[in-house]
């Protein structure tokens, strides 16, 4: 395993000619994990890619040429290309956060402008069943589902101790006649 390159700080990269593999150590304080994933992914068509964490303060990326053979020049090029892709992904990660509103607005206008409003045919064939719906406050529930059926006035329950009462008639205030449906 060669690990010395005149143009790269010591200990960051190494290559193994026998296995046609290179290793790179990445400092997660400099490069976000999302950038490492993004950079590593584009190599999967020509390399087997393995990520691990050999130390608490380091990620290790191992790229092994699928062809099983590569010369020193090709392995050095892999290192360089990965490093360039990594800085590109890291910066893009930051830019995407900085320009999020602008990017989302343009994308929304582009896609919405191209799609246009749905036709009746589109709506008729629209599959609503796969729409994830999270309703923790029960906003989409009917009154009866949410609160149960209101009992007759004659059977009004006793006050719970708070004698100030709730004169608004709001049944969810905790002072009313019914408990919220759990």
């Amino acid at each position: 395993m060669q690990s010395s390159y005149p143009d790269i700080p010591a200990g960051l990269v190494a290559h193994d000619l026998t296995d046609a593999a290179v290793e790179l150590r990445v400092d997660p304080a400099i490069y976000p994990l999302q950038a490492v994933y993004g950079a590593a992914y584009i190599f999967i068509d020509r390399c087997y890619v393995f990520l691990d964490r050999p130390a608490a303060d380091a990620l290790r990326v191992t790229l092994t040429a699928k062809s099983g053979q590569a010369d020193v020049g090709a392995l050095r090029a892999l290192i360089g290309e990965f490093a360039n892709e990594l800085i590109s992904c890291a910066w893009r990660h930051q830019i995407t956060q900085d320009n999020r509103v602008l990017l989302e607005t343009v994308t929304l206008q582009a896609i919405a402008g191209a799609m246009g409003p749905p036709s009746l045919d589109d709506l008729a064939s629209f599959d609503f069943s796969d729409q994830g719906f999270d309703d923790p406050l029960g906003i989409a529930m009917s009154w009866e589902e949410k609160h149960g059926k209101k009992p007759p006035p004659a059977t009004t329950s006793e006050p719970t101790g708070d004698t100030t009462g709730d004169t608004t008639g709001n049944p969810t205030s905790g002072h009313g006649v019914e408990e919220p449906t759990p």
């Binding site: 584009i42 892709e85 590109s88 830019i95 990017l103 582009a110 191209a114 799609m115």
Partner: protein, 518 residues
Amino acid sequence: MSAATHAPMDLVAIRPQAGTQAFFRHRQVGEHVLVTNFEGNFLLLTQAEFTRYATGSVAPDSELFTRLSSANFLRASYDVRKAAEAVKARRGFLHAGPNLHILVVTLRCNETCIYCHASRANMDRVDTDMSKETAEKAVELALRSTSPFITIEFQGGEPLVNFAVVRHVCEYAGRRARELGKQLQFTMVSNFSLMDDEKLAFLVAHRVQLCTSIDGPEQLHNAQRKLPTMDAHQRAVHWIRKINQRYIDMGLDPTLYHVEALLTTTAASLPLWRQIVDTYVSLGCKALFLRPIDPFGFADRTRLRLEYPRSAYLEFYRNAVDYMLELNRQGVQILERYAGIFLTKILRGEDPNFLDLRSPAGAGIGQLAYNYDGKIFSCDEGRMLHEMGDSRFLLGDVRTSSYRDLVGHETVRAMVLASNLDGQPDCVNCTYQPYCGTISTFNYKNQGSIFGRMRESSVCAVHKGIQDYLFEKLAARDPHVLATFERWTTHRPREHFVQEPTSSPTTSAPPVQSPAEP
């Protein structure tokens, strides 16, 4: 003739100070410093003027202050409404769907081109012909686009090989467009070698705009585009002259109505810039698009023989456009298409909607490509990659996909995001960002991701190099050159090629890649 070199500006010595400036980007262009702002206004400053601007020491009663303020480069007087209107004008294309619909009516082709992008098939491969049923379904999807102006482009292979389907589409789409009140035009990209009088009569009668490929002088063209008879150039030239004469006989303005020709620049083209321009002028062409070679199709396999350093291309470009400007000075009207596109954005603040040179790019939202078998792709390059074995840009099928499935496809959404220069490293800081664009398929093919790395991208190098050249010319202020540039950004619609609808559409939009004055 290459770019003049000047000592680089010393920013450390200038000691810029933020405070009075509105957002701007800068780049040294020759002896000048080009500054552009968020909405795409530009100023060419001397180094002394830039120093005053960058250090916030522009005197309020100076001419420079007035210039900076009126172009919206100063924070105190920054006109947000004006900037918003300018951005809206530049991105007017966002609100309409695909206007370019490419129908690959066959992969069969009788010419063998050394750089073939289209992954042609041999003439006996009738299984690569589009059927009429598939073509009708493609037309129905195309006419569902939210764009009021639809262009159907016949491509191949060689589309004249499957002329029955071309004929059927012209008749079927023309009728359906009239029923739906859509503006429609047809274009065809053909090598013309299978053209005959009957086909031409039909195409002219149905107002099909005709384009062909001319690689330059006869020897170069015939070496790169091979027919068994070795006369591809002669046949193309014969039909170009005949078609142009037909337009004149019809009373159409020959400066507006003529065969368009496309150049593919290979290594062999580079020393022949003068002969290439002369060939186009002699054929009556008013425009020449100096396109570098793409890495798709056969060109991918023959790249070592055809490719060249981008610096060599840029020298070719400068030589050719310098020569074209000289011809214009002598009264010959010829324009370079790249320059026309960039200059329209730079000088007019408009986007001519060239789909590969806008932000976001037009894949999926500005164009769709329909393969002979009914498969639909985000763009023609996506279809080419499919033919090379990679179906990453496949969106659907004419038999099963709805229009909204296609343009709302997750691949299209990803490509819109990836080609938005506001999210691209390098581009966010590039002075040319308001005028530029990137191509997701090209990035994917060359660098492994649809985002790409612009600093290592040959397309980026070409775009920067061309804009450097154009701004050098603008800075030089030669009145003849400025007048020519002004003419190159004057767009005249080719109304004859628009099919006649029975009902008027509610809005109109310019056709894709609308022509500029030569």
